[in-house]
């Protein structure tokens, strides 16, 4: 999306910091797919894919890809010890049953109440929801990783989503190229961190929503 690789990696690294050892995690395509690179080596994390895998490992080296071992985005992956295969119904059963601790995904818009809109731009882009609705609604924690603004410079964090929703009040955390926001039960959208060299003012200016400031905003 035009972001420098350093920025993308910073966002992925920040998302990775939310992962604890022992978690079951589902990653969307794009920046979320960079998250595993930023995990401690001794972490035990089981990565889940909607097509029917738990325990995905890194992409195999070029030439060693297996056409029958792909993630939900169709990209070649590998399997760690303890991983298994199953049908897609079971893959989503895990999600609905609350066995997926965390999902990290991209979005078009996020509202100040945690509504997520990432599946359709009416009249323009109609890819379909895929597994996004189940993940957004049922993963125990939902982290959105996206640009602060769209290509027209408009804030992707909004008071109310103008695009059709994927799910309501589901997002727990938003990580952009400029900042980290939490959607808190009582306070709504709260700015927690600002990525240097950005400033609070810059972030607020490009956030088209009601934002509270955390007591101690971290500059990282």
């Amino acid at each position: 999306m035009g972001l420098a690789i350093e920025t993308r990696n910073r966002m992925a690294k920040r998302a990775a910091a939310e992962i604890q050892s022992g978690m079951v995690v589902n990653l969307g395509i794009g920046i979320p797919s960079l998250v595993p690179n930023h995990l401690p080596r001794d972490f035990a994390v089981m990565f889940h894919a909607e097509n029917g895998i738990i325990g995905m490992g890194p992409s195999p080296i070029h030439g060693e890809e297996d056409e029958n071992l792909c993630n939900a985005g169709g990209f070649p992956v590998s399997l760690v010890a303890g991983g298994s295969y199953f049908d897609s119904a079971l893959a989503f059963g895990m999600i609905r049953r609350g066995k997926v601790d965390l999902t990290i995904l991209g979005s078009l818009q996020v509202s100040e109440t945690g509504d997520l809109a990432n599946w359709i731009v009416p009249g323009k882009k109609v890819p379909g929801m895929g597994g996004a609705m189940e993940l957004a609604q049922k993963a125990k924690k939902v982290i959105v990783v996206m640009n602060q603004t769209d290509k027209h410079g408009q804030s992707k964090i909004v008071q109310k989503c103008s695009l059709p929703l994927t799910s309501t009040a589901c997002v727990n955390m938003v990580i952009t190229d400029m900042a980290v926001f939490l959607v808190e039960k009582n306070r709504g959208l709260v700015l927690h961190e600002v990525f240097k060299p950005h400033t609070i003012d810059e972030v607020l200016q490009l956030t088209d929503a009601t934002v509270s400031l955390h007591d101690k905003i971290i500059f990282s």
């Binding site: 050892s21 022992g22 079951v24 001794d42 972490f43 035990a44 089981m46 738990i54 325990g55 399997l79 760690v80 010890a81 303890g82 991983g83 298994s84 295969y85 199953f86 119904a89 079971l90 989503f92 059963g93 895990m94 999600i95 609905r96 049953r97 609350g98 066995k99 049922k138």
Partner: protein
Amino acid sequence: MKQALNKVSSIEEVDHLFFDGMTLMYGGFGGVGSPPTLIEAIKQKGVSQLKLIGNDTGFPHIGIGKIVSLGRVSHIITSHIGSNPIAGQLMTDGRLAVEFSPQGILAERIRAGGMGLPGILSDIAIDNDIVQKGKFFCEIGEKRYMVETALTADISIVYAKKADTFGNLIFDKSARNTNPLCAMAGDITIAEVEEIVPVGSLQAEEIITPGVFVDYIIQSEGVDWKWAWQ
């Protein structure tokens, strides 16, 4: 697999999970495949007023029957109690409330619970007074269906042939029966297994129950349904 995902436990470590009045789901079919070591532990702990969910009530001294026969159960959702005459007597005496569910529908209700679905539609025994009692109905176009609600439990206990330390399970022949279903429907699932193996020892393709559904793994002290038919 690293320590964070190692679920091997002792009976002592799971004992605190059992409580009076808990909803307990158990795998097995006619006693075959019901976890004997866990059932014995629950019996020994002496918890009562249990609400059970399972295919049948086993035999008086085999499977879940060991607990049912002691009058420790106040309510059960099941499809069959014929092999345990004590269960029938308790029911007749008004000491055990039995909700009969057709066997395959019961299995689907348990699966729905495990899969995070609120329920299923059914046309099985839809005109049957006993089965439809208290149930909701649903019109779809010109057809009328019965709603069979999903079942989950505080604790689910299952029996498997092997587990790796992450809790991936494989089963043995027809001892599989309702175990993979119950394994998914417990808020907490405890698997009693014949053999515990290191992660990586099970083939990824042979795993029936992925370990994410299993919270504790217990080494079985041996099964009790051998020659139940004799």
